[in-house]
Amino acid sequence: MNAVLQAQGLGRKYGRRWALRECTIDLPAGHVVGLVGPNGAGKTTLLKLASGQLEPTAGTITVLGGRPAGGPPQLARVGFVAQDTPVYAGLSVADHLRLGERLNLRWDAAMARDRIATLGLDPAQRAGRLSGGQRAQLALTLGLAKRPELLLLDEPVASLDPLARREFLQGLMEATAEHEFSVVLSSHLVSDLERVCDFLIVLVDSRVRIAGEVDRLLATHYRLTGARRDPDRLPADQHVVCARHTARQSTYVVRTDGPIHDPAWTVTRLGLEDLVLAYMDQDTVDRRAALEVRR
């Protein structure tokens, strides 16, 4: 399968601060990829690099085999829905569709019209008077009717209420089932992504902590609980994601391809949310360790 996005040592600096660094990923086509991490982790930066709105400071990025925003054909292949799904407040719904038709090489006018009708939006309505959920649906319609091979969405549901959130994701998922395209969407909430994504990238503190297919991630991570034990006494193939110790007990989250045979551990599987939190926890542990060294 072809790669939709490949990054090699990709980095971007704002002034003296790295917003994204040493990012090396390879996203296969045909997935709905979740980009998850706390606010300020670098999610928007990565999406803007992929859509060509930002130039890398370091490393390289290829999208669908080409340079991001490297000419009209490349622009036509990649859709981008920015944070908070912006639309033009003064233009009507119909104006937005006309604009989409004028500005895009392969515009699916029938699809756009059908979606607006199904959503029950009035074409004459000004976008500024739409509800948040309707505005998001309009922005999604523009992104879908462009018929991209890759659709990038930056925190598309963050500002929506639960019902609008569900309806937005229903629309997006229905479109992926009908037309073949890849999706990368970011969120700071794993719960938003849990059902829709089959590939996950965890971004913490400007770095990619882990990336992979969700099924595979769930199958290779375990929580081990048992009597206190130092990490260097774990088998070499068990990579420690995070560790907590009391005077008597140790709790590890480990990544390993093999089964866990040690009967001393109580072994449990992790849900996606706990898995992501474990990687975020590692970050706080690292930071604490760094602070202690400095002291």
């Binding site: 229903q170 629309g171 998922m173 229905e174 992926t176 089932a177 059902r195 089959d198």
Partner: protein
């Protein structure tokens, strides 16, 4: 369009992966006779649009059901139920339930509360399941 015979739902807190939840719901519906041989399954697009889940999750569930011989895909037409699970085992449910009731009464008389009963059942269930695999 005709309304699909079954509608799926997902429980985010169950700890069971979404694809397996779909598989279990189909098996359950087959056992109860809600789904019968020849019934058409909802299309992937319908399930995806209804649950807002990844299409691959539904495909994986349908592949698994196909592998188990419970459904079959007819290209261009849809996926259809090809087997039934309301077989001889249904007749055994009644006596088994009675035995289980008697066991539960015994456990309560022995002083076990609901949580202890559940824990005892689950650990025993898991141990025997593991022994069967080994």
């Amino acid at each position: 369009m005709e309304k699909p015979v079954i509608e799926f739902h997902l429980d985010a807190r169950s700890g069971v992966s979404p694809y397996l939840q779909l598989v279990q719901q189909v098996r359950h519906a087959l056992r109860l006779g809600v789904l019968r041989e020849g019934d058409q399954m909802p299309t992937v697009k319908e399930v995806v649009a209804h649950l807002a889940i990844n299409a691959n999750t539904v495909l994986k569930a349908y592949r698994e059901l196909e592998h188990e011989g419970l459904v079959a895909a007819r290209p261009g037409v849809g996926t259809f139920v090809t087997a039934t699970l309301t077989d001889a085992s249904l007749a055994a449910h009644g006596p088994l339930r009675q035995e289980l009731r008697r066991w539960l009464d015994k456990a309560r008389r022995a002083g076990l509360d609901d949580e202890s009963i559940e824990a005892l059942f689950m650990t025993t269930f898991r141990t025997t399941a593991q022994e069967d695999i080994a």
